[in-house]
Structure formats: structure tokens, C-alpha cells
């Protein structure tokens, strides 16, 4: 599923996908297991960096006195590095970012699109929520101001209002959307949102690939 997103996903995206019930609750354990299997088979690059990160995380854990399992502890299960199917890296904001290998993305897009249409559907659904939240955040924080002639989804009037019978509108927008992590984050300026958009730019463009969408239109149902 992660490999359906060509420009990858951040840790918060993965948590959001779990919250939206697209990922199983034990996704972290599965991912950690998959990566450790890879590690056993082939030592990944960036071993030194991993060790540094582990040390840092141990320090954080020591400081954490809370009873619940902290985000740091959960993240520490995932080792950064270049695996044969995915690259796990730590971004500027110390968040983990997982990007699939191009060959794996291509393989899934070409060979598994008919077998797992639900992956593609979940991806479209998540990126729709994500795009709408990016628009809403830019508007709410006044990073972008509606123009007199705007003609885009920035508008919340006239023909730009969502159709109330639209199943996505009914299922998602009025309920789950409020939970999307971008809504909980605070932004000092447009640059932070712009960086998040850039991280997902290729994911958005992959939503235009008709060969991935056509199996969904031919699929009998779920």
C-alpha cells in the first residue's frame, strides 16, 4: 500500500491512514518486521546514521515518563536506511519519511492494479482529503486569498460548493476530515505548507494515471 504513493509518505500520513481504517492497527509492527527482515538479508546503507538516531531516541525515551507508548518509542521500531523496496529517511523536522523504490512502484502499478483496486481507491480517497486540507489550511491561515475571479476549490459558493449527493462528501468531508493531521499542526508561514505540498506533488500527479483508475471503474464493488 505504501508503495502506491510514488513520492512516499510521512509518519503522520501513515498514522492518518490507520486512523481512517485504511491501515491495520498493527501497521507499525508489520512495517518494523518487514524492514528487519530486509536488514537481516542485507545490511542497509546509512548504518552509522541509524545508530545515531537510535541513541537519540533512547535519550528521548529515558526522558519520557508517561505511561503510554510515546511516538518516539513507536518510531524507534523503524530503522532508517535504503532497503530494496523502500527508503526510510529522516526529514528536517526529524519526522520519518518512507519513499518506495521506483521499480517497486512501477511493478505494483503495472502488475497489481487489477488484483488490489482497493489500494488505489484508498490512495485516491486519502489524497483527496489531503488536497482539500491543504487548500483549507492556506485559506484559514490567510496564506492565500480568494481572488474576485477565482474559479477553483478555494471558493465555497455557487457551482464550487460540493454536491451533497456526492458519496465522498457524505462519507468523509463532514466527519473524518477534521481529524487529518494538517488541521492539528500550527504553521508559522506558507513555507511549511509548501514543503508538505512538495513532498506529495508526485503523489498528486499519480492520481491522473488512467491505467490505475480504469480498473476501479471496471471493478464490481467492495
Amino acid at each position: 500500500m505504501i508503495s502506491s504513493f510514488p513520492s512516499g509518505l510521512g509518519w503522520e500520513d501513515l498514522e492518518e491512514l490507520c486512523h481512517l481504517k485504511i491501515f491495520r492497527p498493527d501497521w507499525e509492527d508489520i512495517l518494523a518486521r518487514l524492514l528487519s527482515q530486509d536488514q537481516d538479508a542485507e545490511k542497509p546503507e546509512g548504518e552509522e546514521i541509524e545508530e545515531e538516531v537510535e541513541e537519540e531516541e533512547e535519550e528521548v525515551e529515558e526522558e519520557d515518563e508517561g505511561g503510554e507508548v510515546s511516538i518516539q518509542e513507536r518510531k524507534s521500531k523503524i530503522n532508517t536506511g535504503n532497503y530494496f523496496w523502500i527508503t526510510v529517511a529522516r526529514g528536517n523536522n526529524s519526522n520519518l519519511f518512507l519513499k518506495p523504490a521506483q521499480s517497486v512502484y512501477q511493478f505494483i502499478a503495472k502488475n497489481l492494479r487489477n488484483e488490489y483496486p482497493e489500494w488505489q481507491f484508498a490512495k485516491l480517497e486519502y489524497l483527496t482529503l489531503f488536497a482539500l486540507t491543504l487548500i483549507e489550511r492556506a485559506k484559514t491561515h490567510y496564506f492565500y486569498n480568494e481572488q474576485l475571479i477565482e474559479n477553483s476549490l478555494v471558493c465555497e459558493h455557487g457551482i464550487w460548493n460540493f454536491r451533497e449527493e456526492n458519496s465522498f462528501y457524505k462519507d468523509q468531508i463532514e466527519g473524518e476530515m477534521t481529524s487529518i493531521y494538517l488541521r492539528r499542526m500550527s504553521f508559522d508561514g506558507m513555507k511549511e505548507l509548501w514543503t508538505i505540498f512538495q513532498e506529495h506533488e508526485t503523489n498528486f500527479l499519480s492520481c491522473l494515471e488512467l491505467e490505475l483508475i480504469k480498473p476501479l471503474l471496471a471493478s464490481p464493488g467492495n
Partner: protein, 223 residues
């Protein structure tokens, strides 16, 4: 449970307009956004699905493309030709829509965009505006005030409160066009309309438009 096909089409109806909107906001390459919109229009056509929702998506994409273009300082003649061809395409697409409310909404958006273009053209906001040659009939037809009064206001009379923002936009543009043409006694005519527009823009959290409108009101007070 809805089939994947229906659910996917409902998703695309939103996603394929949300993606170019994100690019419009976050990308600095305007040409890139126009190319992206054009690509998506091609993809919608390739889907080969004919229903009101998908046709409306196509109309919105054409409107988005025109809005991106008219808000730039482009070469007037190229922009004029783009505008005319896009409006022509939208008019053809409207014929396939059975929902009259949407048809009126789309007509309003095209006329408002056209009026905005001619207003900016008259203010010298586009390069090489002298290269656009309009005959007398076109000049008459394309007069900003005429488009706003006989097209926009007529359509608005058939539409509900969902279109209050557009009502405010028509009021603002009419006022600007009259002021630009040095028309007299517009203060009394437009004061209440502008105050109403301020409330509408404030309700839609459009701070910049709200401020610009307040500035217009202040200007009238000084006249």
C-alpha cells in the same frame, strides 16, 4: 454499498479539481498549472463517461484555466483568443447538462470572467492591448457594464443565496467599471451594495476582498 465505479467517479469529481487548485496555490509556475489543467481535461475526456457531474467537472476545469490566465499580466491578444475559445468550449459542454441551475451557474461564471477580462483590458493591465481589434458590434457586446447588467444580473435573478458571493462580485465590478468611465452619482447608487459585499466577503473569510471593498467605500466618502 455503492460500487467502486460510482464511488471513484464521485472522488474524481472532487480530486481532479482539488489537485490543480493546490498547484494554483502552492506552485509558482503559472504555465505549469495551466498545462496541468489541460492534461486533466484530456484525462476526463479519455474516461469516456457522459453524465452531468463529469461534464460539470470539465466546465470547472475550463473555468479554472481561464481564471488562472486572466489574473496574470499576459499578452492581451493571446489571452483574448484563449478566453474566447474556452468560453466557446464551455458553451458547448453546457448543452449536455440537464440541470438548469448548474447551467445558469456556469453561464454566470463565464460572463463574470469575461467582464473581469474586459475591465482589466480597459485599465491597461495586459500588454499590447491595442492589437485586439473589436468591431462595433463586438465593442457593444463586450462592454463590461453591458455584460454585467444584461448577462450576469439576469442570470443571478434565477439563482439563490448560494450565489451571494457572485452577486457581490458583480456589484463590485459594476461599480469599478462606472467609476472607470467617470460616471456621476455612483456613490448613492452603490454604497449599500458595497456594504453588503463587505459582509459577504467577511462571511467567506476573504480578508483581501473585504479590505479592497472597504477601501472603495472610503474612496466614495472622499468624493
Amino acid at each position: 454499498m455503492l460500487e467502486y465505479k460510482e464511488k471513484t467517479l464521485d472522488l474524481l469529481e472532487i480530486l481532479w479539481i482539488a489537485i490543480p487548485t493546490c498547484f494554483k496555490i502552492y506552485s509558482s509556475r503559472i504555465e505549469g498549472t495551466i498545462t496541468l489543467v489541460s492534461t486533466i481535461i484530456g484525462r476526463v475526456t479519455e474516461l469516456g463517461i457522459a453524465n452531468d457531474n463529469i461534464t460539470m467537472l470539465k466546465i470547472k476545469l475550463h473555468l479554472l484555466m481561464v481564471a488562472v490566465a486572466v489574473n496574470q499580466k499576459q499578452e492581451a491578444e493571446t489571452l483574448f483568443n484563449t478566453l474566447l475559445s474556452e468560453i466557446d468550449l464551455i458553451d458547448k459542454l453546457k448543452l449536455a447538462i440537464s440541470n438548469e441551475y448548474w447551467v445558469n451557474g456556469a453561464s454566470l461564471a463565464t460572463n463574470l470572467t469575461k467582464a473581469f477580462f474586459f475591465y482589466k483590458l480597459s485599465r491597461g493591465k495586459y500588454a499590447n492591448a491595442e492589437r485586439i481589434h473589436l468591431n462595433e458590434e463586438q465593442k457593444e457586446f463586450n462592454s463590461v457594464e453591458r455584460i454585467l447588467k444584461y448577462s450576469c444580473e439576469t442570470i443571478l435573478s434565477k439563482l439563490g443565496p448560494d450565489f451571494d458571493f457572485e452577486r457581490a462580485a458583480v456589484g463590485i465590478l459594476t461599480c469599478k467599471a462606472k467609476k472607470n468611465a467617470n460616471k456621476k452619482n455612483i456613490k448613492d447608487q452603490f454604497e449599500s451594495q458595497l456594504k453588503n459585499a463587505v459582509d459577504i466577503f467577511a462571511a467567506h473569510k476573504c480578508k483581501k476582498l473585504e479590505l479592497k471593498t472597504r477601501f472603495m467605500i472610503a474612496e466614495f466618502q472622499l468624493l
